[in-house]
């Protein structure tokens, strides 16, 4: 019964643990976007790539937060993709910053697997993916 299951799933994505997840994502998106744009605006010459990456990360967190909060079928897909991008980002940039520190002279949100941010950037997409896939499974059953 696809007609009734769609609104149920839409509600579940932003209720329960999803409620807290949206709050954490929202705050983190704000922090990363603000920091990235501030650094780009004031110290662009020092490390444009690193600061642009921080801003990009912030925007991805923002998209994920909105996707989780809106919680329709399409937004769930959007949230899923942005969480996957975050996961890939923190893993790739984290690894790169450990093995080739010269590539990222300035810290980004994802450097050292997010160690500058209490490893929240590493934990958050994992929780996000777990929650979205859980709701997805409940929806399908």
């Amino acid at each position: 019964m696809p007609e009734t299951s769609a609104p149920t799933a839409a509600k579940t994505l932003r209720t329960g643990p999803g409620r807290l997840l949206v709050a954490v994502y929202g705050v983190f998106a704000l922090a990363a976007t603000a920091r990235g744009s501030y650094q780009l605006a004031t110290r662009f010459d020092e490390a444009p790539a690193a600061y642009a990456l921080s801003l990009f990360a912030g925007i991805v967190y923002l998209v994920a937060a909105v996707g989780l909060a809106r919680a329709g079928r399409t937004s769930r897909r959007v949230a899923l993709v942005s969480c996957a991008v975050e996961m890939a980002g923190v893993l790739v940039v984290g690894t790169a910053s450990v093995f080739w520190p010269s590539v990222f002279p300035e810290d980004t949100v994802w450097s050292g697997f997010g160690s500058g941010y209490l490893f929240i950037p590493l934990v958050l997409p994992a929780l996000g993916l777990w929650w979205i896939l859980r709701v997805h499974r409940m929806d399908r059953d």
Partner: protein, 120 residues
């Protein structure tokens, strides 16, 4: 910035966080007293924001004004936004949202104080 107000906000915020964590672990939803507590906390925060804006208008500005103002806007919006978002949820996850907000609010105030009067 008014020092004692910052201290009070941090204490009240941590107390709210503790209370909400207890509610979460006892599997209770958010109730009106939680909301009143958040209202009191918000008033204190707005008082500090007002005092800081008044000081800045008076010419007493931190070195990184733009950064400071963005933090100020965040602390002013965080309590009401999270209170509404948490109150909409009728399960234990409502107080969990408030607890999260009340745990990061003191940290934001530490940053505000650092920006206002840098130690180094």
């Amino acid at each position: 910035m008014v020092d004692w107000l910052t201290m009070t906000i941090q204490m009240v915020s941590l107390a709210m966080a503790g209370w909400c964590l207890v509610s979460t672990f006892r599997d209770r939803p958010m109730v009106v007293p939680h909301l009143v507590g958040m209202g009191v906390l918000w008033l204190l925060v707005l008082g500090q924001v007002g005092a800081s804006v008044a000081a800045m208008v008076g010419g007493d500005r931190p070195a990184e004004t733009a950064m400071y103002v963005s933090y100020l806007a965040t602390v002013a919006l965080l309590p009401p936004a999270c209170a509404v978002w948490g109150f909409m949820e009728r399960s234990k996850w409502g107080p969990a949202v408030i607890a999260f907000a009340c745990l990061i609010l003191p940290v934001l105030f530490v940053r505000l104080e650092q920006l206002w009067s840098p130690v180094a």
